[in-house]
């Protein structure tokens, strides 16, 4: 569904991605791993068009998207949850979702703010609170919810559980498992490697802007040695 071919991206003169090729199939969950600064966030920004690639091509559902502006890419059915959440602070929880809600993926049973509330019940309790009144975990749930109500076919999740209390992480992982069960394609990067691999179909490791290692479920090749070599943990 999503195919990246030899993507090279840069910020000004600083080259970050050095020719990345990968694909994400329909309903597939792909885990992106790598140490800090290896290009995971840049890769996602390149896909959604915020850091358009300087070289290479990206196609989504058969259409070339690497030259499109972000809003057109989003309308083709890609939802993006950025690293720093970026909730609209003066809109309420409900407004944060209703303002952007649409059915871009033309799905059978579209996500509405109500359905997001059923995935993250905590958001329902806080539905009329402003974005700037939410805790980090609530903001994260809202960031995911806000990407869901545009009804994407593919979700890009950048550090969805960063800095959250374990109990909140658990809620988010449960929500993501549910999305996967409903056959949403997901490309995600996260520090909680074990939790991420538990629900992923494939994993890739980025190092210095290149894919250096990949494996498929059940990740028997992902040994402690690999972990130590590429991730330093």
């Amino acid at each position: 569904m999503l195919v990246l071919n030899d993507i090279k991206s840069r910020y000004g003169r600083a080259r970050v991605l050095h020719g990345i090729s990968l694909h994400v199939g329909a309903g597939e969950m792909v885990a992106l791993m790598g140490r800090n600064g290896m290009g995971k966030s840049t890769l996602m920004r390149s896909i959604i068009g915020l850091t358009p690639p300087a070289h290479g091509s990206i196609t989504f559902a058969g259409r070339a998207i690497h030259t499109l502006p972000p809003y057109k890419i989003a309308r083709l059915g890609i939802g993006y949850v950025p690293e720093n959440r970026e909730i609209f602070p003066s809109l309420t929880v409900r407004e944060n979702m209703e303002t952007v809600a649409a059915d871009y993926g033309r799905v059978m049973d579209p996500y509405t703010p109500e359905r997001v509330f059923s995935i993250f019940p905590r958001l329902r309790e806080r539905h009329d609170h402003r974005g700037n009144e939410l805790s980090g975990g609530e903001q994260q749930m809202l960031a995911i919810g806000r990407a869901l109500v545009i009804n994407p076919l593919l979700l890009l999740l950048d550090e969805a559980t960063e800095g959250l209390a374990p109990i909140l992480c658990e809620e988010i992982w449960q929500g993501l498992a549910l999305l996967k069960k409903r056959s949403m394609a997901i490309l995600m990067a996260d520090r909680n490697i074990d939790a991420m691999l538990a629900i992923s179909d494939r994993c890739l490791i980025l190092e210095k802007g290149r894919v250096v290692w990949q494996a498929e479920k059940p990740f028997s090749a992902f040994t402690d040695k690999v972990r130590c070599r590429y991730l330093g943990v």
Binding site: G49, P70, A74, P82, P89, N96, V100, R146
Partner: protein, 327 residues
């Protein structure tokens, strides 16, 4: 608690409604025209608040829309009163003198100017947007200063106001009430628009335009619509101001006017519905009273402005009405 919330607004509304009678009672009739101007500037400042406060679009040329609206009404009145031709046409006064023709025309022309300039200026952000709006406004300013047919920089004096069926607009009290009603209607509509999805998306564009785009929304359409709406309201304010003062000159669209509108929004309260009206009232009355004591009234007003902006991030409105409500 709920009832308490409505006491102050009701009191202020009553004051607004009874003001002409109160001024009569205390023998202060001369203040009525000042109060009317405060309402008109409140209307113009509210239109600026829409794009500046809610949309984060800092325009330093907003008076240009007042100028276009004002000159539209002024030029029509001038020709009708002189019985002269406009663009080779002799307009029947009974029809073209009507506020129902002149004011909508002022609104449409101001909105059209906003559409054209907005299409260009909204491609820029921040400092560039400030400069490009200022540049457009100054272009129009110098156009009117060099337009000798309409008095150039001296402007034109008018003899009487537009007419409105059933209302005597030459009566200052009637005109005051008309301005008050228009202001309230515009504020109500603005409130409804901001509560709707359109308004929420516009506000979200101020807070994080990149995020909004990544969620599938192109902000330009929202910003351009709001910019036109804002220009239209300012155009109406310009037409009202020219009617009120029975005079129009390029001074109405000088960039310092735009600055004053911005000060009204800042002092009153950005992104607060009634803030700019409060700001306009405070600014005009302070100017009136401080100017009695010294020509250099800005020396006093300047520090006042600095204090309000420093200590009340949502202006006087925030200081007076939002005690610890929201940040």
């Amino acid at each position: 608690m709920e009832v308490k919330k409505y006491i102050l607004p009701t009191a202020i509304l009553c004051l607004g409604l009874l003001l002409p009678q109160l001024l009569d009672f205390f023998g202060l009739q001369y203040l009525l025209s000042l109060a009317t101007r405060a309402l008109i500037y409140g209307l113009a400042a509210s239109s600026l608040n829409l794009i500046l406060g809610y949309g984060g679009l800092v325009s330093l040329g907003h008076a240009v829309f007042m100028g276009i609206g004002g000159y539209t009404a002024g030029i029509l009145l001038y020709h009708i009163q002189a019985g002269s031709r406009i663009l080779g046409l002799l307009l029947p006064g009974s029809f073209w003198n009507s506020a129902l023709i002149a004011w909508p025309l002022a609104i449409v022309l101001a909105a059209l100017f906003a559409l054209v300039t907005g299409l260009i200026s909204l491609r820029t952000r921040g400092m560039h947007f400030i400069m490009i709006t200022l540049a457009f406004a100054q272009m129009v300013y110098f156009f009117f200063t060099s337009l000798d047919a309409y008095g150039g920089s001296d402007g034109i004096s008018l003899y009487g106001r537009n007419t409105l069926p059933g209302l005597d607009l030459d009566n200052d009290q009637v005109f005051y009430y008309l301005c008050l009603v228009i202001l309230l209607i515009v504020l109500f509509l603005m409130h409804r628009i901001l509560q709707a999805r359109f308004g929420r998306a516009f506000i979200a564009g101020r807070e994080n335009i990149v995020r909004l785009q990544a969620l599938g929304i192109a902000p330009l359409g929202y910003q351009l619509s709001a910019y036109c709406l804002s220009g239209a309201v300012a155009g109406l304010a310009g037409a009202l101001l020219v009617n009120q003062g029975e005079f129009v000159s390029p001074d109405i669209l000088h960039w310092t006017r735009s600055g004053e509108l911005m000060v009204m929004v800042l002092v009153g309260g950005m992104a607060r519905l009634f803030g700019p009206v409060l700001g306009a009232v405070v600014l005009l009355f302070l100017e009136e009273y401080l100017a009695m004591y010294t020509d250099h009234w800005m020396v006093i007003f300047g520090p006042f402005l600095i204090l309000v902006v420093l200590f009340g991030r949502s202006g006087l409105y925030g200081l007076l009405f939002e005690k610890g409500e929201r940040s």
